[in-house]
Structures are given as structure tokens and as C-alpha cells.
């Protein structure tokens, strides 16, 4: 097992063993899945069948990022406030490996939570429609190939920031990210989602954006230094 995978494995185990955090996250995922599921109206329906495309498109990505937002702190910043990162940095693991291992762990758990929400939403619509409604091709592509990349890019950038910043700046950053995220989850996903038709172009655009952010994150992590982390411990 490579060092990255050793780190990712441990982070996932630690996240899963943190029952409070996991239950809260799962709760939030379910609540949004239910709100979205019950909120679907006839407006976006095609031929009498409610379309889940727009809703799923937004729910999967917004919820995935929201989960990633709430889990990143447990995996990146907490190790700084606990001052454990210092010891970790004296191990054979390089800064880049530590970062990548953590990104993989947070992304995997967040993505699974987003998939659970997607599944719940599909079940709710199936019940309401008295029959299974499957999303279209672009949305399936989006859920399985775009959303994980987007989540990883977000975690990557947020993770670098948390490693580089001190306690006060981190709180401020968290607050700044939260507002548009929550607004997006409610506004974009809930209101706009239901009436938007998702085309291949949309999915391709989001995928391009996700890759761009991921490359940006991988680039920025070069400028992160051990000294920067050690002198900004909580």
C-alpha cells in the first residue's frame, strides 16, 4: 500500500469512528434528499411524469460539496489544532502525500453520502410516481464522473487553505464558504433544479470546471511549506 493510501485509509477509519459527525452528516444528506424529493412538482414534468434530472444534477453536486465542506475540517484542520501534523511531517510521508491521502478520504466519504441522498431521492420519486423514474444520460454521467472530481477539487483547495491558515483565518474562511454553499443548496438545487433541463453541454462544462479546479489545487499545494504549517498550529 502506498503512503497516500495508508493515510487515506486511516482518515476514513477515523471519520467513520466519529459517530456524531457521521450521524449528523447522514442526517443532513437525508433531510435534503427528502426536501428535494417532496419538493418536485409537476412543473418540470414531461408527459405527466415528474422529471428528476435537474434536481438530481444539483442535489448530487451541491450536497457532495456541502458534505465535503463539513468533513474537511475534521481531516485537515483538526490535525493542526491537535498538533499531530507536526509528528506526521517528521515521518517518511511528504506534504503532498499527506494532502492527497486526506483529499481522497474526504472525497470518498462525501461522495458516498451524496450517492445515498441520490438513492433516497429516487426512491421518494418512485413512490410518488408509482414507478421508477431514471435520470437521463447527461445526469448519470454527471453523477458518476463529474461529481467525484468536483468534490475532490473542492476538498483539495479547501484542504490547502486549512493547512496554510491559522485559527482565525480558518474560521473566517469557513464562514465565507458556508453562505454561498447553503444558499446554493437551497436556491439552485431546490428552486432552479426542478425546472432546468440538463443537457450534455451542462455536464461537460461542469466537468471541465472540476478538472480546472483540481489542477489548480494540485498546483497550489506546491507552495505550501512545512514551516507554514508548523508556525500556524492552533
Amino acid at each position: 500500500m502506498t503512503i497516500c493510501m495508508v493515510i487515506a485509509r486511516k482518515e476514513i477509519r477515523e471519520l467513520l469512528s466519529n459517530r456524531n459527525t457521521m450521524l449528523t452528516s447522514l442526517g443532513v444528506a437525508l433531510v435534503f434528499a427528502v426536501i428535494y424529493g417532496l419538493g418536485l412538482t409537476e412543473e418540470g414534468s414531461i408527459g405527466g411524469v415528474i422529471s428528476v434530472d435537474g434536481t438530481l444534477f444539483f442535489l448530487s453536486i451541491m450536497l457532495g460539496v456541502f458534505m465535503a465542506y463539513s468533513l474537511t475540517g475534521h481531516v485537515f484542520y483538526k490535525e493542526k489544532t491537535d498538533r499531530i501534523i507536526e509528528t506526521l511531517l517528521t515521518s517518511p510521508a511528504t506534504l503532498r502525500q499527506i494532502w492527497l491521502g486526506k483529499v481522497l478520504a474526504v472525497s470518498a466519504v462525501s461522495y458516498i453520502l451524496a450517492l445515498i441522498a441520490v438513492a433516497v431521492l429516487l426512491i421518494i420519486t418512485a413512490i410518488r410516481n408509482q414507478g421508477i423514474v431514471l435520470p437521463g444520460g447527461p445526469v448519470i454521467f454527471h453523477i458518476f464522473l463529474v461529481v467525484p472530481v468536483f468534490i475532490a477539487a473542492f476538498v483539495g483547495l479547501n484542504g490547502v487553505a486549512q493547512l496554510a491558515l491559522g485559527m482565525k483565518e480558518n474560521r473566517l474562511l469557513g464562514f465565507i464558504i458556508f453562505i454561498p454553499l447553503f444558499a446554493g443548496l437551497y436556491g439552485l438545487g431546490f428552486s432552479i433544479g426542478a425546472v432546468t433541463t440538463i443537457t450534455w453541454l451542462y455536464s461537460a462544462l461542469v466537468l471541465a470546471g472540476a478538472w480546472l479546479l483540481l489542477v489548480l489545487a494540485a498546483f497550489i499545494v506546491r507552495f505550501l511549506s512545512t514551516e507554514r504549517i508548523v508556525t500556524s498550529l492552533g
Binding site: 495508508v6 507536526e86 509528528t87
Partner: protein, 307 residues
């Protein structure tokens, strides 16, 4: 091998480490002493490559650790923080580090260290439920998990009970003597340092103000001599006149039945036969030996005065 040359570290306005040079060889137990804020932890972080020097170099086996992950494989570290995850069990903590260092026969190594530190019965409990001393012990086990050749310990026995302190001391001595591991430790516990360190450096405001073996520091700083305790009924003045007749005696001073004799540099006259011949009953005679604490305080104060 650790080699530090003209190492300096400045934090904004604070000069934390000021032009330090040290060389420590394998098998040596090296202690770093100094008041709070003297720069001990900063020096250790610089050696570990956690901080970048403002100037100078800190090398282990001739290279900076920061750019050589493969060299870090052979370095064990216990900082002020134990480096343990509260949400994981003691066993899982060690297992994680064992995987990071790619230790062969991981399970056995982890088990034997848990047994060695007496934490075996709590191996499945989360570290968050451990006491301060238990964590320190587990941290120490973590630091030697991968059979390091160089071990850096920042106040290893801070907060430990006497029994565990002894365990830590024995462990350190064993590693240094049997396995020829280089041990660099920061400590405030002068008693511990005196028992285990071959050489020490005393830091003050980021500078090394003394660096030598304890034996050399002792002979350089203290005056050689003996303390004589007389029988209760004995007349001290009579004894004093016998002692003063010796040419090699620099001076004496007596306080309630005890006579402190200071010899001339390099001399060591045998006083006892003369005292016995004069019919003086001596109940105890011993070399004046000053504790490391006395030496440490003397060096620090001497330096203060020169400022």
C-alpha cells in the same frame, strides 16, 4: 549523526536560535538544557526540518531531513505533543505509523511494544480515554516503532510518575548502549539528564553557553575538595588546625560540626590518616560533588553577570 553549523532562526522580532553549532555522534545520549523559551524545541524542529533555518545548516547524516523522506525513515521523534489520534485505539495508532514506516512484521512489533509499555490491556481503548502518562508512553513506543538510528525526544518524561520515568530512562540507556542509537533530548529534569546523558548543551536565549560532558563541566565549574563530618563530641577547631597544616589545602570553612575543605587546583591530599593520628574522631568524609543543578545554575548565572 547530527551536525549543526551556525544555525540561526529568527521569528519576526524573536531570535529563537542564535548561531548554534553542535556535532553529535552515534551511540551518544545528548541532552539539551535551558530555561523556558531558551530555544530547545526550535532547535529540534530545525534539525527535523520542520522549520527552515534563517541561516546556517542542520544536517542528519550529512543532509537536511526536510528534503530527504528516506532519511526520515531512520529517525524517531517524540515532540511535546505525543502525535496520537484520540479517536483511534492505542493499537490502531501504532498500526497506522507502522504502515507509514512500512515496518515488516507489523502486528508483532506493535504487540511487543504495547506489552513493553504496559498498555497491552488497554490496546483496544481509544487514546482519548488514556491518562497523560499512558499517552506519553504510547508516544514513546510510537517513536521507536520503526527501529530508528537517531531518536529526538522533547521532554520525554514530562508528566510521568517516578516508576515510568525510570522505565523511560532505562529504555533510553538501553537503546544507546545496546543498539548504538543516537539520542538527542530536551529536558528540564536535571536529575534525569545527569543519569543518562553523555554530553549536554546549555542554551540561553538561543545561544549555547556550555557544551561538554557532565564530568568536564563539573571539574571546570566546581572546586575540588571534601566535606568532613566530625563526631558530635569532637572539637572542630582542633580538626581545623590539623587540616590547615596541609600545604595543598586552599581554604576551609566550618559550620556546625561540618568542615568543608577546598583543595588547591589539581591536588588531593589524604587528610584522614592525619586526623586519626591526632586522635580526632571522624564520622564521615566525602568528596564534594555538586549536582548538575548546581552546575547548571552556576553557568546560567555566570552568563547573566557577563551581560
Amino acid at each position: 549523526m547530527i551536525e549543526v553549523n551556525n544555525l540561526t532562526k529568527k521569528f519576526k522580532s524573536t531570535l529563537a536560535v542564535d548561531d548554534i553549532s553542535l556535532k553529535i555522534n552515534e551511540g551518544e545520549v545528548f541532552g539539551c538544557l535551558g530555561h523556558n523559551g531558551a530555544g530547545k524545541t526550535t532547535t529540534m524542529r530545525l534539525i527535523l526540518g520542520l522549520l527552515r533555518p534563517t541561516s546556517g545548516t542542520a544536517h542528519v547524516w550529512g543532509k537536511p531531513l526536510s528534503q530527504n523522506p528516506h532519511l526520515r525513515r531512520k529517525v524517531g521523534v517524540l515532540l511535546e505533543n505525543d502525535g496520537l489520534y484520540e479517536n483511534l485505539s492505542g493499537e490502531d495508532n501504532l498500526d497506522y505509523y507502522a504502515r507509514l514506516y512500512e515496518i515488516p512484521d507489523r502486528k508483532n512489533r506493535v504487540s511487543s511494544l504495547l506489552e513493553y509499555t504496559g498498555l497491552d490491556s488497554r490496546r483496544k481503548d481509544k487514546v482519548g480515554t488514556y491518562s497523560r502518562g499512558m499517552r506519553r508512553k504510547l508516544g514513546l513506543a510510537r517513536s521507536i516503532l520503526h527501529y530508528p538510528s537517531v531518536l529526538l525526544l522533547d521532554e520525554p518524561s514530562a508528566g510521568l510518575d517516578p516508576e515510568v520515568q525510570k522505565m523511560v530512562r532505562d529504555l533510553i540507556l538501553n537503546l544507546a548502549r545496546e543498539e548504538k542509537i543516537l539520542i538527542f533530548l530536551n529536558s528540564h529534569d536535571l536529575d534525569e539528564v545527569e543519569r543518562i546523558c553523555d554530553r549536554i548543551a546549555i542554551l540561553q536565549r538561543g545561544r549555547v553557553i556550555a557544551c561538554d560532558s557532565i564530568k568536564n563541566l563539573r571539574s571546570a565549574s566546581s572546586e575540588p575538595g571534601v566535606v568532613i563530618v566530625l563526631d558530635e563530641k569532637e572539637n572542630p577547631d582542633k580538626a581545623a588546625s590539623v587540616i590547615e597544616s596541609f600545604e595543598d589545602v586552599e581554604r576551609i570553612n566550618q559550620t556546625n560540626g561540618k568542615i568543608r575543605v577546598v583543595f588547591k587546583q589539581g591536588k588531593s591530599p589524604d587528610l584522614l590518616p592525619a586526623l586519626v593520628n591526632a586522635g580526632i574522631r571522624v564520622s564521615e568524609i566525602s568528596r564534594t560533588s555538586r549536582s548538575l543543578e548546581d552546575i547548571y545554575l552556576e553557568i546560567i548565572h555566570r552568563e547573566e553577570k557577563q551581560k
